[in-house]
């Protein structure tokens, strides 16, 4: 009770600070000096403090199982383990928005204290734009999704958290993902501020790059965590399903990659300024549109909480205002850099521009595939879905030129390179890679020109990156690591796709099932009573030809509150291949429905994603070190 009240009033105080900040900053803009008014920084701190307090209050309400709070009542239960009581506080619509708001206020605070070298007006105007976003979130919370709504009479027991969300990885997946999504808000505000201050130059680009790589890092890790979770919890045994919810996280991700590259050109050569600005604005807009599509209930998924049309309309209006503001500022205030520089076709700049084009192509494929079904439903009242074949067909062929260019690009010099000096090493490596891929495929007993080339070019990127690393004197470590990670990722995905196999059958306890390469024995079923569910542990013995016998114990969890069954796949993780077994029970039937999968290189997919992301992190810290 008390904490709900405290949390609610802290939110209102936080909102009041927003208005105070706008007022103080406006006054401070007129004063010409170098440092910003210290009041501003302390106000930003107070705002952060109040939002943080409010967030803590929500967590305490969850820990205390205070069912007078509607959010707690809807998403918690007294028998739930403490860990999930805490993570449950952001595992719902209201709480997750509060977390977003917390990250928004945290980031603007960090921006202010780390940008002391930047011009004063630029900092203040960034703050003002960020406050517009923050006010939008405050109003959204307070008007349509108050996390501290009061419920009377107070129920004895809550409704419980959706059992599939009761998972350690899913507890940290939202906070990390938000760090990525919301990080792009700073990119958005600071780009608008830079436009109004005519500050779109290489100095600004330096500051922007840090925010871009760090947002991208968190977004990558956040997406990966969601993917790992889907792998073992949803029981489908894959890592990516081209589900609309996955797609909307991939769009800002691609946009940020394009931005990471184009901002280098702005930093080093003062070019591509307008393009970089457009990317800055779109990456945040795409993040917000994602929120809109998921939260309005237009896309049905785990992320859809109780639908309320008011929420959808609110986000839509908010999104509309943000887009209008940015378009207005971009067209009214923006003065392009007019430096007469010579451009040459064969240069690093061009290669980065081509990277950006590819990114935009990938992005538009995903955008159209995700949004088209929604439009068709509204316009023609037809319900359709766009599945993996669409994306595979449109994306995979373009990976071949993309990967080749990705290998060559970093070897081209800035400004202008000489085609004659185009080096033999690169051509040699290319031939070697394609040959290796060809022979490996023959040994495995597969063929196909397309697969040979696809694996060949992925290998090409891999060996080129490694050879660059050893040959070049001055290397860009973070780039090499990220490119290396990416080539490894693509290779693991291709091999995983080619060699995955799956068997599914229905089987009774004590029976055995023969398949092409072995036998599955269903040994036993045991029930255990756990804190808030009944655990049904099944034991399977699997003997595959020429391999050691393995035991897999997939589990079913039967929850009472809310009534639900989840299956926990049992996965034997191996360096080269995962053995994945998941069991399902059809109500009122003695048959167990099992799915046994062999998933090669699964662990490589996660590892290479971590390598890919760590490149971003390394870049961030290198920059911080260089500044000192």
């Amino acid at each position: 009770m008390f904490f709900s009240q405290l949390g609610y009033y802290s939110l209102i105080f936080g909102l009041i600070f927003s208005f105070l900040l706008i007022f103080v900053s406006y006054k401070d803009l007129k004063i010409i000096n170098h440092s910003i008014n210290s009041k501003i920084i302390s106000f930003v701190f107070f705002q952060l403090f109040f939002v943080f307090l409010s967030f803590i209050c929500l967590i305490i309400s969850f820990i205390n199982s205070d069912f007078s709070n509607v959010t707690v009542y809807n998403n918690s239960h007294t028998t739930k383990p403490l860990f999930y009581k805490i993570s449950g506080s952001w595992g719902n619509h209201e709480g997750s928005l509060l977390l977003c708001l917390l990250v928004l206020t945290l980031f603007i605070f960090i921006f202010l204290i780390t940008s002391k070298k930047e011009p004063k007006k630029f900092r203040i105007i960034t703050l003002l734009f960020q406050q517009i976003i923050i006010i939008g979130f405050f109003l959204f919370l307070l008007i349509t999704s108050n996390p501290f709504s009061y419920l009377f009479p107070i129920p004895k027991e809550g409704l419980g958290l959706n059992p599939i969300l009761q998972d350690p990885i899913l507890a940290i997946h939202p906070p990390i993902l938000y760090l990525g999504y919301i990080g792009s808000s700073i990119i958005f505000s600071s780009s608008l501020a830079a436009i109004t201050q005519n500050y779109v130059n290489n100095k600004w680009a330096k500051n922007l790059k840090s925010w871009t790589v760090i947002s991208w890092f968190f977004l990558t890790i956040g997406i990966m965590l969601g993917s790992i979770w889907a792998y073992y919890e949803l029981g489908w045994g894959g890592f990516w399903f081209w589900d609309p919810v996955e797609n909307i996280s991939l769009m800002p991700w691609l946009c940020l990659i394009a931005l990471i590259h184009s901002v280098i050109v702005l930093e080093k050569r003062s070019q591509l300024a307008s393009w970089t600005l457009i990317l800055c604005i779109s990456s945040f807009t795409l993040s917000m549109s994602g929120t809109f599509l998921v939260r309005s209930g237009i896309l049905n998924s785990v992320h859809t909480f109780a639908n309320d049309p008011k929420r959808g309309i609110f986000i839509l209006i908010f999104l509309f205002i943000l887009i209008l503001i940015s378009i207005f500022i971009f067209f009214i205030f923006y003065k392009p850099i007019t430096k007469d520089q010579k451009n040459f076709l064969y240069s690093r700049e061009t290669s980065i521009l081509i990277n950006n084009w590819f990114m935009m192509y990938f992005l538009s494929v995903i955008l159209i595939g995700t949004v088209y079904p929604i439009f068709l439903e509204v316009i023609a009242d037809e319900k359709i879905s766009v599945g993996p074949p669409f994306y595979n067909k449109l994306l995979i062929p373009f990976l071949i030129p993309f990967l080749i260019l990705m290998a060559i690009g970093p070897n081209i010099k800035w400004i202008q390179d000489d085609i004659k000096l185009f080096n033999l090493r690169l051509i040699f490596l290319f031939l070697i890679s394609v040959l290796i891929s060809y022979f490996v495929l023959i040994i495995i007993g597969l063929n196909g020109l397309f697969t040979t080339f696809l694996i060949g070019v992925a290998l090409y990127l891999l060996v080129t990156t490694i050879s660059d690393f050893f040959i070049k004197k001055k290397i860009n470590l973070s780039q090499k690591i990220s490119h290396f990670g990416f080539s490894l990722l693509i290779l693991s995905i291709i091999l995983n796709g080619i060699f995955s196999s799956e068997i599914s059958t229905n089987i009774k306890v004590g029976e055995k099932y023969k398949f092409k390469h072995g036998i599955i024995y269903f040994e036993e079923v045991k029930n255990f009573k756990k804190q808030n569910y009944i655990s049904v542990v099944t034991t399977f013995r699997i003997k595959e030809d020429n391999k050691k016998e393995i035991f897999l114990k997939p589990e079913l969890r039967i929850f009472n509150q809310p009534e639900n069954i989840t299956s926990e796949a049992d996965i034997k993780i191996n360096f080269f291949s995962d053995k994945f077994l998941v069991v399902n029970l059809v109500k009122g039937n003695e048959y167990y429905n099992i799915k046994y999968q062999t998933k090669p290189f699964m662990i490589w997919i996660w590892l290479s994603t971590i390598i890919l992301a760590s490149g971003g992190l390394i870049n961030f810290f290198q920059r911080k070190l260089n500044e000192k």
């Binding site: 029981g235 538009s364 099932y513 639900n564 399902n584």
Partner: protein, 139 residues
Amino acid sequence: MYGKKVKLRVLFIFLLLISVILSIFLILKSLEENVVYFLSPTEIKNLSEVKNNKIRIGGMVKNKSIMINSDKITFVITDFKNEINVIYFGSVPNLFSEGKGVVAEGFLKDRNFLIAEKILAKHDENYMPPEVTEALEAK
């Protein structure tokens, strides 16, 4: 008449436009080929012809219709007006049970019979396909 720079720029914009148009054309073309339509049992009964493309059917699993043996699962999807028999070889999601909402993806044999490749049930105990909600309200 125009400088080299202007010519280069025009060429650049021209190339950009062409590649944009080409890629949009490509995207729309494969969209057409790879779309999966979502239908209710009633809509299937009213189809003029049974085509050979992949579809999704949404509805409720009819009570006492699930039959399982060692290699297949058969059940009936109903929207309380019409029914479709489904045969499926593969693994089912956890929340697949009688009286609950379900979506089956596969190929139609005829107007009464679907060979499913994939069964989807949502991850929430309260989920019901929108078509079924409408059908229930109409009842």
